[in-house]
Symmetry: C2
Subunit: 249 residues, 2 copies
Amino acid sequence: MSDNAILLTAMAVTAAQEPAKVSAVDRLVEQIRDLLRDRALVIGDALPTERELGELFQASRNTVREALQILKAYGIVEVRPKIGAVLSDRHEDAVRKLFAFQNDISPASFLDVQGYRKIVEVGIGDHIILHASAGDLANLDLVNSRILQVEGVDDAAHCDFAFHEALVMLAGNRTLLTNYRLLQPVITHIMRVGKAKRPVQIDTHQTHSEIIAALKARDRVAYAYLISRHLEYGQQFVGSENIRSARNG
Amino acid sequence: MSDNAILLTAMAVTAAQEPAKVSAVDRLVEQIRDLLRDRALVIGDALPTERELGELFQASRNTVREALQILKAYGIVEVRPKIGAVLSDRHEDAVRKLFAFQNDISPASFLDVQGYRKIVEVGIGDHIILHASAGDLANLDLVNSRILQVEGVDDAAHCDFAFHEALVMLAGNRTLLTNYRLLQPVITHIMRVGKAKRPVQIDTHQTHSEIIAALKARDRVAYAYLISRHLEYGQQFVGSENIRSARNG
DNA sequence: ATCCTGAATCTTGGTCCAACAAAAAGAAGG
DNA sequence: CCTTCTTTTTGTTGGACCAAGATTCAGGAT
């Protein structure tokens, strides 16, 4: 079976579950996507104007606009008055925003997110210890030092997240990093609540330093222990009254 | 600092980065979202008609439609002709679709995704061994057995994914499961390509059985070894010519 | 009288057209 | 180089028509 046959099969399946109910707007979304690919446009390039798109694909300008709203929601294009629609690189932002959409943060999900982080951040230890260079670890020190220089709960939370993000980055896996970043709004919100309850950036910096030291010593047991303890630490400060909705966090 | 203060701060920040450039469509999206929350609508409930929404919020019907297209892209509502817009539970589907959007699968990303799976599926071993009941593991057997009963590359890929999904499910972490499911289109596409090249469902079933056996024996070393080898196995069958776009996979 | 049925009607989303306002880019003039 | 004017393009509105599905209602069967 050739790849083309596979693709045709897949297309037939998708066609079967959407039985010819294709609206003009959906068709336009596909056509515009194809246009982007065929012209090999890059980030920042401008699309044709709404009227041109309408004439090009035989659709009304309203239909074009509805299709562009969808592409905009997907972060594929950004549309500015007079400029028109330009190809955007906000795709990941859109995914993140959508992911966090309508996500109320309950104490249960707090524990859940921390559990996720424990699985991931402990799990990457072996890979970091095996593959991280001295420069990589020095960079971790740099990121960690920033937390001492900021004022305010919000900035501290972002620095804290940046450290853990840098850690995940060292795992060298793009998919993992993308997924971890999806949780950024949720994680930073959790950090904000924790730091508001008990604002001790010094402690955070110290704990991070110990984690980095374990990595420098290539001590995977110590790393696993320290990162687990670090992630479990905040749980005692989280009660049901401390977590609220994180809309647009 | 109270939680309310934190929320107000967060709102001020989001407001600051969107300096009063709120379009009528964006305003409508917010207003409709508020409407959903204020009326405490549940999945399946119908919104007012487009004309009513327009009158309610002093907007043209075209503007209402553009706002609805965004909500639809977000999976918040589903709009059926004559019925109108109804509250949808397709939010996660929308996230998944958006996540897979514009994701071409190169050999590099194939390796990346398999690397992600190795980190995750190895990492959850300890938790499964500690917490999975005999019934959980028996259920794994059940899921695994289905792969012997299906015909065709597509169904086999879905059964294969279902097994690994069940595995991740046993980790007992909702966040991890959600993130893993995000990759479903990509993973099943990879599986389809592999199985098309070399369709051996018997082998897959056998390997899965060995993995289950390791879990039943509470042997974490054997589990880690078997799952790693299982995930590395397909790499030899993947050349650059075998992987294509997984759009709408 | 009650219930079923089928046609007529009414509602609603899908699409299109025309128009005007606002904003921004580009041209023209100092 | 700066300012002003023109033009283009998006933002928004109102209205129109169609097709499909829901509703209503009349009429016949039981």
